[in-house]
Subunit: 153 residues, 2 copies
Amino acid sequence: MLLSKSCVYGLRASLYLAAREQGEFIPIRNMSDKLEISFHFLTKILQQLTAEGILESFKGPNGGVRLTREGSEIQLIDIVLAIDGPQLLTECALGLPGCGVKNPCPLHDKWAETRDAIHEMLEKTTLTELVRKGKAENLRLTTDGGFDILFEN
Amino acid sequence: MLLSKSCVYGLRASLYLAAREQGEFIPIRNMSDKLEISFHFLTKILQQLTAEGILESFKGPNGGVRLTREGSEIQLIDIVLAIDGPQLLTECALGLPGCGVKNPCPLHDKWAETRDAIHEMLEKTTLTELVRKGKAENLRLTTDGGFDILFEN
DNA sequence: CCTATTTTGGATAAAAGAGTCTCAATAATG
DNA sequence: CATTATTGAGACTCTTTTATCCAAAATAGG
């Protein structure tokens, strides 16, 4: 699995938040229902994103979480690094510690290129960009149903 | 982790085999010592590669494993798919089942491109190519020490 | 035929990832 | 002040991955 499940859930939730009114605190239960993710598990993941400063939270009635920045200023890489950690995009393909330009493995160069391609994609893609695309084409963020139904009622 | 540890070990072992005389059966213990991988664990991994037809094995004294094809005809992708399975390079970045051109998630297109880049790299790279590079530049296949010391005595 | 060497396969154990549950802390509202 | 809604934090369970161990099968060589 390229991305951990936590990371995948974190991305889905972040997209959901970016698609909602900015500034509004969204209860996690609300998100877990819509996105069909276990409430408690999602809570854990969002706590990480809060700790990393990507989200901010508010307790009590009318509480919830929201993005600290605009969706257009949050790249996918921010979420991936916050959850899966930077090793994901720096590790050696052969698992050798300290593999780098100075002391590489035979696969280092090619692998570094590949990792860079992943990094670049994640770095260039913003939440807002995906939300726009999702809305325009009614793409899904969940197993069944399109983008729209996430925001009904 | 992009590749599982099993997969990483499988790659290292395959490179080791490709670097040795073709046709010769190499005992797994020999490899596990040189590559500093747990013997029993490596055994399990190589059994998978044998089952997938990438290796063949021979029991008893002077037994061991060897590549079924020449190293120049084995691509990294063969090993990765045999161990981590094809899902690795087909799964949706948001974890949605059945995500594809017909019913995509907002990230599908970009993710597919990224996966293709990984796939292409793994597909274009052969064991022999890496072995040649490793030998030429004395690169390492293990934590310490270069390529050469793997094949002393 | 016996012994040593080696893979095979299954059982088991330990560690990490995924998921659940409970209780405390915070805050709004009547 | 009591009630209710919500996040925070920790303990706990389940599953998968990683790792270890052992007995069985195959085979070479004396």
